[in-house]
Symmetry: C2
């Protein structure tokens, strides 16, 4: 019942850059307070709480980073993930959990009609800014799974491109590929920025709008659908995959990235519990099993669906061929 | 970072009385939805999440209570604790955790000047209503530790009586004792109700007001100080204990109930992490170690302080003699 207090402590430590202030110099609460120019009581209590929750270690009166917090929560680390806190605790997500009973009872998102599936919902700009770094390892894993023909020009469509990280990984792995990113306009600005930073400005173009209705174009070698289908019900996912099928060239592949629970729907925990986020924030979304994806994909003409975990995240890729 | 989602799922299940609806009849999501007259999707996803988080068990497509949820979360159980959710997630507590960084940075409660220590703060009525049942086992344990003289009339003062459960346990264990309960006026109504329900109406009286300034009376055999001192700094606790000392008869005992961390301040976790709640909700409160209580008590003239865990809770009693 008090789990939210762990979220609060971790978020406060990230907001204060407390992990970075410790870095590789274990320190007392007084020393950390001096580094951060904060009063001592709050830093002492927060540090003890972080030690209790396992985010830092306490030895005598000194606190030091754990191996995990050194890699992921020290801002000087290339794998820093502290910014994910901004999205994971954004009101558009967190408010859903303040009255989940009302959502269950009514069958409707209690905060708004469409939740985060509303057109141009601003939380997706936050997502694009905050979650990109976390997607780099799985995007590289996914790109390895689907090498494109190096001997001709190829085309990649990245649906709900967001930060653009998935499309960028594919484009970097395939120097003759052109990347088309689709998302809401404000979100695409982030993808465009990231593509330019990755040196892909001249192989990048955009489609602005609703992925269910906008013209997707044709003759793609691969269509990426990362973290998109879970927002919708099975019928709408199937309708959407039919559009993807039409946009691919024969032999082209769809690469769906999702949290995919086992058939029993309670394992693996990190993937399976994602359903709850979809309950809270979308009218009809869910985390789908591989059996459900196989069914949807088969229905619209894809064949040979396969499932691939994308470590170190809890996400998996579902890949199928036109 | 997403721990708050566990709070949201558990609170939703309590709000919906989902645990009670399962009771000793394991059921599918469809059956539970029918029992609760809710749409199926939300119940299915919520049940899976509760299974992932360990609050219920899933076997095939049926959900059943775990031993813990059967005892504590089924409303028909005499040990039902679901109402604690109302206090543990009350805005006066939970809002503190939405921006703990600001509290740490400023050294001030970010939601209000005095946090929950403001006079007549309404959250204490919520506390008195919601938390009483959880206090029954530790209050009985505490009463066993300090038997009063059965051969004469005795007097008990219950400071910050709240639900009154501690004083009631002492009064029931000592049939010749008169119980005086002190708290804010609206809170005392709950204590009075509970004392009457326990058959103590004719051995019960009240002192309304601020425990630091109101006349406490004299000649008490025992003064109970449950869940009170953690709201204040050491100097104020010491000043307050001096008042308690003056109110006791010679040989009388003070019984402090608190979450008491070990000297290292990070164990036991449930007691030690309580400091964080005091950081978020009070200007200067903390969870104090036994060494700190020994120091405060010695300074105002108490002797022989002892520490007693009060299972099954994370609270302990600190007892000392005038």
């Amino acid at each position: 019942m008090t789990a939210y207090q762990r979220t609060g402590a971790l978020k406060a430590a990230i907001d204060l850059d407390l992990f970075t202030s410790i870095g590789d110099s274990p320190a007392t609460a007084e020393e950390i307070a001096a580094r951060l120019q904060c009063p001592g009581r709050g830093i002492r209590i927060l540090c003890d709480s972080l030690a209790i929750f396992g985010f830092i270690a306490k030895s005598g009166s000194r606190y030091e980073l754990t191996p995990d917090s050194a890699v992921f929560l020290d801002r000087t680390s290339p794998a820093y993930l502290g910014d994910t806190a901004r999205f994971l605790t954004a009101p558009a997500i967190a408010d859903a959990f303040a009255n989940l009973a009302e959502t269950v009872r009514s069958g409707r998102v209690h905060t708004s009609e469409l939740g985060t599936t509303a057109p141009d919902h601003p939380v997706w700009v936050e997502f694009a800014r905050a979650m990109g770094p976390m997607m780099v390892p799985p995007s590289q894993g996914a790109a390895q799974l689907v090498p494109l023909d190096p001997d001709r020009d190829t085309r990649i469509l990245d649906i709900s491109a967001s930060h653009g990280v998935y499309g960028i990984a594919f484009a970097k792995a395939n120097p003759r590929a052109h990347l088309v990113a689709l998302d809401w306009e404000a979100v695409l600005a982030v993808a465009e920025e990231n593509a330019a930073a990755a040196g892909l400005a001249d192989r990048f173009s955009k489609i602005v709008g609703n992925a269910f209705t906008v013209d997707l174009g044709t003759d793609y070698d691969v269509v990426l659908v990362p973290n998109f289908l879970h927002h919708f019900n099975i019928a709408d996912c199937t309708t959407f995959l039919k559009r993807v099928h039409a946009a691919l060239r024969p032999g082209g592949k769809v690469v769906i990235v999702e949290f995919v629970p086992d058939d029993g729907r309670i394992t693996p925990p990190a993937a399976a519990s994602f359903s709850l986020v979809m309950l809270g924030t979308t009218p009809e979304g869910d985390a789908y099993t591989f059996a459900q994806f196989r069914q949807m994909l088969g229905e619209v003409g894809f064949h040979d669906p396969t499932l691939h975990p994308l470590p170190p995240t809890a996400a998996s890729a579902v890949i199928a061929t036109k």
